[in-house]
Symmetry: C2
C-alpha cells in the first residue's frame, strides 16, 4: 500500500458508479486527498484486494432500487472473511453520453452495461434509430466511446464517467424511474472474531447477517417473529440458493437497530433460531443526493 | 394456432433447456405428437405469445438450484394476466459440445449463456487454453458452433442442443454442482377471475402468490406465522424491488399444500395480512431425472 494512503478497490474502470460511491465514502472518512482507488476487473477481485490486504476497503454494489440485488456479491460476502463497515446509497442517473459535437438524433450505436440498458428501457424504446449493445460496464462504455471517436456512437453512463472521459451529456436522466438508487456496501477485512466485528459508533445503525434454517414448516416465520419481538425493523431479506443442496436457501437479512446494545440481543436470537449464522457487519447507513 | 395442435412458447432456439422442459410437460399433458414449440427471442415474447392467445402455454425458467432465481420472470409474472399451471424440474447437465472430430484439448473458444459459463466455473478454470465468451443462450451457442464449422470452437449446452445441431459431446457433465437443476413454470392465460385459477387436480400441489406488505416492523413475520399455523410448508420466498418506491418489496411466495381445500384458507390469510396480493397459480410439481 502507498504510505499514508487509504486504498479502496472497486469493480469497473474510473468513472464507474462504484468509484463515485467510494469517493463519497472516502471523503467522509479520511478526506479525498488521502484516498486512492484501485479499479478491478471482477467483484471477486475487489474481495481479493481486501483479503490480501492490498486495499483497506472494497466498494460493492449490493442492490439497485429498480432491478434488485446484485446477488453474486451476497454469495461472495458469505464466502470471504470480510465485514460490511459502511453503506452508501447514491442516486443513479443515467445519461446518454457522446463526443462533444454529437447529437441524440445522429446516434446509431449505444453501449452500456446490460443492467443500465434495462433501467433505460423506455428511452431506448422510443429511439428507434439507436441499436443498444451490451458492454462490460457503464464507465467502460464511456471510455470506449472516447476511443471510437465517432459522432454516431454513444454510451449510457453517469456524470462521473462523462467527466472522466470528457464526453458531452446528449440527454440527461434517461432512466425509467427517477428515484433509481443503488446501495453500496463498503467492506473491510473482518477482525479475528468474525462474530463480533467492531461496534457501530452511531445510532441508528444497520446489522446484516446471513443464516441457514431447518428445512421445516415455520422456521423462517419463527426467526422473523423473534426479531420483530425485539422491536427491530427488517429492511431487507434476500434468499440465495445453497448449490450443494437444491432448493435449500441461505437468507441474507438486514435490520435497523436503534440501541447500541441491541446487536447482542439479535445475536442471541440468531444462536437460538438458526442452523448457522454469520454476522456480516454493523454499520452506519449513509444516503446522499449528490 | 394450428388446428388440433397445442402450442408452447419458449425463450431460445430449438434445443434450449426450456424447449426440453416444455417437451417433457407436453408429453405428459397431450402427447408429444400434438405439441408444437414456438421459439421466442425474449421472455417478454414468451408472455406475449400466451396473452395474445397465439400459444396455449409458455415455458419459463424460474429458478436454478446453483445460481438462483431468474428474477425478471417473477416481475413478468406479476405484470401479466397469466397463471402458473404446472411446474417441471429438470436436471441441468452441461456438456462441452464441438463438431464431430473435435477434441477438448484443441478447443480455443467456448460460447455459452453467461449463467451456464458461471455454472461451469471450475471446469473453465482448469482449461487455460479456452477463452469463454458470452452468447445469448446455450442452444444458440451450439447452433453457432455448427455454423462456424471450426474444430477449435465449442459451446456449453445440453444434450438436446447436441442432438439438434449434430454436435459431439467432447466432455460430459462439466457443471460445478452435479445436482444442478432448473425449475420451470408452465404458464397459461388466467381465466377471468384472477383470484381463482382452476382447482388443482392432485395433492400435494403448489400454490404461488405475490404480496405487498405494510412497511412496518413484523409484517412479514406475521404473514409467515399465519401460513405456518395452517401447517403449510413454505418452499420459496423471493423479494423483488418495487421500482417506483425504493427499498419497498414485493414478495413471491411458493407453498406446498396437501389438502384440496387448503387454498381457501391461504387466501383468507392473504386477504387479512397483506396490502395486496395476486394468486399466481395452483399447480402440480413434477420432477424428472431425464
Amino acid at each position: 500500500m502507498t504510505v499514508g494512503k487509504v486504498l479502496f478497490s472497486f469493480q469497473g474502470v474510473p468513472g464507474a458508479f462504484s468509484h463515485k460511491a467510494g469517493k463519497l465514502f472516502a471523503d467522509g472518512l479520511v478526506g479525498l486527498g488521502k484516498a486512492e482507488f484501485v479499479p478491478c476487473e471482477t467483484f471477486a477481485d475487489v474481495f481479493a484486494q481486501v483479503t490480501n490486504v492490498q486495499c483497506q476497503y472494497g466498494v460493492l454494489p449490493l442492490e439497485n432500487s429498480s432491478i434488485g440485488s446484485i446477488v453474486s456479491n451476497y454469495d461472495l460476502l458469505w464466502m470471504h472473511p470480510v465485514a460490511v463497515t459502511g453503506e452508501v446509497v447514491i442516486p443513479i442517473h443515467h445519461h446518454l453520453l457522446g463526443l462533444p459535437g454529437a447529437t441524440t438524433a445522429a446516434v446509431r450505436e449505444v453501449y452500456s452495461h446490460p443492467a443500465a440498458l434495462e433501467q433505460c428501457r423506455r428511452f431506448l424504446g422510443q429511439m428507434s434509430t439507436m441499436t443498444p449493445s451490451a458492454y462490460f460496464d457503464t464507465s467502460g462504455a464511456a471510455k470506449y466511446v472516447r476511443q471510437r471517436n465517432d459522432l454516431t456512437v454513444a454510451a449510457i453512463a453517469g456524470d462521473l464517467a462523462a467527466q472522466e472521459y470528457k464526453l458531452s451529456i446528449l440527454q440527461e436522466n434517461i432512466e425509467d424511474f427517477p428515484l433509481n438508487q443503488t446501495r453500496f456496501g463498503i467492506i473491510a477485512l473482518a477482525n479475528g472474531d468474525l462474530e463480533l466485528p467492531e461496534r457501530c459508533p452511531a445510532i441508528p445503525y444497520k446489522f446484516s447477517c446471513a443464516v441457514t434454517l431447518d428445512h421445516k414448516s415455520g422456521s423462517l416465520a419463527n426467526l422473523l417473529t423473534c426479531v420483530a419481538s425485539l422491536g427491530i425493523n427488517l429492511t431487507k431479506i434476500e434468499s440465495r440458493p445453497i448449490p450443494e443442496t437444491p432448493w435449500h436457501y441461505r437468507f441474507f437479512v438486514d435490520m435497523e437497530l436503534d440501541r447500541v446494545d441491541q446487536d447482542g440481543a439479535v445475536i442471541v436470537v440468531l444462536k437460538d433460531n438458526t442452523n448457522s449464522y454469520k454476522v456480516l457487519g454493523r454499520y452506519r447507513a449513509w444516503e446522499t443526493t449528490k
